[in-house]
C-alpha cells in the first residue's frame, strides 16, 4: 500500500513537468503531495500527513490561480515545452536520484518502527506546546514575517512611491515611450504583454511627475535615503 502511494507520488511528480497545461501540472503536484500525505498517515505520522494534505491543497489552489494569471497556455490547448539546458538538468536530476538511491541501498538502515500502542498525535501535542514550543513559535513568527514580506514585495504602492519607480527610463516626450533599452525585448516567449505604451504608460507618467526625471533609472535609492519618514 505504501509502495503504491510512493509510486503514485513519484509518477504524478513526473507528470508535473510533462503535461501541456499549467493547471494540470499544478494538480498533479497536488496529487503527489496527497500521496505523500497518505503515505505519512500509513506510516503512523497521521498529524503530519493530514496537515500536509490540507496545506498543500490550499497551496496548489493558489498556485493554479497564479498559473492562470501568469502563464501562457494555462488550458493546455497547445503542446507546451518551456525548458532550457534540458540535458544538463536531466543529468543533474538523474545523478541526484542515482546518488541518493545508492546511498539508501548501501547504507545500513535502522529498523525501529513506531510501536503500535504509541499515542502519536497526543504526544506531538504535548511536545508542541511543551518542550518544543520555541520551535513552534519560531515557525509562527517566520510565517508572520513571510506575510509581511509578501505584501511588501507585491504591493503596487510602496512606502517610497510607486513599486516600479525607477525601473523604467522616462520617456523622450511627456508620457511617451520609455527611452533606451526595453527590458522585455530579449524575452522571446509567446505571450504578448500588452505593450509598454498602454500598460506601463500611466504608471510611468505618474512617477515621472512625482520625482524628478534627471536621475533616470537610478533615483529610487536616493529617494529612499533622502526621505526622512
Amino acid at each position: 500500500m505504501i509502495l503504491a502511494l510512493v509510486l503514485f507520488a513519484v509518477w504524478s511528480g513526473w507528470r508535473v513537468f510533462v503535461v501541456d497545461s499549467m493547471v494540470r501540472a499544478s494538480f498533479s503536484l497536488l496529487a503527489s503531495f496527497v500521496a505523500v500525505g497518505g503515505a505519512g498517515v500509513l506510516m503512523s505520522a497521521s498529524y503530519i500527513g493530514v496537515a500536509t494534505v490540507f496545506m498543500m491543497a490550499v497551496e496548489m489552489m493558489v498556485m493554479a490561480i497564479f498559473m492562470v494569471a501568469f502563464m501562457m497556455n494555462p488550458a493546455g490547448l497547445n503542446p507546451m515545452s518551456m525548458v532550457h539546458q534540458n540535458r544538463l538538468s536531466m543529468a543533474a536530476g538523474a545523478l541526484a536520484f542515482l546518488g541518493l538511491s545508492a546511498a539508501v541501498l548501501t547504507a545500513d538502515l535502522p529498523d525501529r518502527p513506531v510501536p503500535p500502542e504509541t499515542r502519536v498525535v497526543f504526544d506531538l501535542g504535548l511536545e508542541l506546546l511543551g518542550p518544543s514550543m520555541l520551535i513552534f513559535e519560531t515557525a509562527g513568527v517566520t510565517l508572520l514575517a513571510t506575510m509581511v514580506g509578501a505584501v511588501v514585495l507585491s504591493s503596487q504602492q510602496g512606502r517610497f512611491g510607486s513599486a516600479d519607480e525607477g525601473s523604467r527610463p522616462p520617456g523622450l516626450t511627456e508620457n511617451g515611450e520609455p527611452a533606451g533599452r526595453v527590458p522585455d525585448e530579449s524575452g522571446g516567449h509567446h505571450m504578448h504583454h500588452g505593450g509598454h505604451g498602454d500598460h506601463g504608460g500611466d504608471v510611468d507618467g505618474a512617477s515621472d511627475h512625482g520625482q524628478g526625471h534627471d536621475h533616470g533609472g537610478h533615483h529610487h535609492g536616493h529617494a529612499a535615503k533622502g526621505d526622512p519618514s
Binding site: 499549467m22 503536484l29 506510516m43 503530519i48 498559473m67 525548458v83 536531466m90 513552534f136
Partner: protein, 101 residues
C-alpha cells in the same frame, strides 16, 4: 523494507524536482520543482521518523519546519514573481539577465 521503498521514492522525487528547478523557464514551474524537492524531503523525514527511530514526538517537528519552509518559499516566491513582472514584464528566467531593480 518499507524504509527502503520510502527513501527510494523520496530520492526519485528529489531528482525530478531538481530536474524541474534547473530546466523550467517559467518562474512558477521552477517553484514547482522546488516544492517537489521539499516533498521528497518530507517523505524521507516521515519515513525515517516512523521506521528508523521509533517515533519520538520531537522528531516530528522537523517535518513541521519543512512544511513552514514550503509555505514561506511559495509566498515569498510568488511575491517576487509579482514584483519582477511589474518591473520587467518578465515571467521567464531568460528575461532576467540582470539583478538591477
Amino acid at each position: 523494507m518499507t524504509l527502503t521503498i520510502v527513501l527510494l521514492g523520496a530520492s526519485a522525487l528529489i531528482g525530478i524536482g531538481l530536474y524541474g528547478a534547473l530546466s523550467q523557464q517559467s518562474f512558477v514551474m521552477l517553484m514547482m520543482g522546488l516544492e517537489l524537492m521539499l516533498n521528497g524531503a518530507l517523505l524521507a523525514i516521515m519515513g525515517f521518523w516512523s521506521q528508523g527511530i521509533g517515533g519520538p514526538p520531537e522528531a516530528q517537528l522537523l517535518a513541521i519546519i519543512v512544511m513552514a519552509v514550503m509555505a514561506v518559499e511559495m509566498a515569498i516566491g510568488f511575491a517576487l514573481v509579482v514584483a519582477v513582472y511589474r518591473k520587467r514584464q518578465a515571467d521567464v528566467t531568460e528575461s532576467l539577465g540582470t539583478l538591477k531593480g
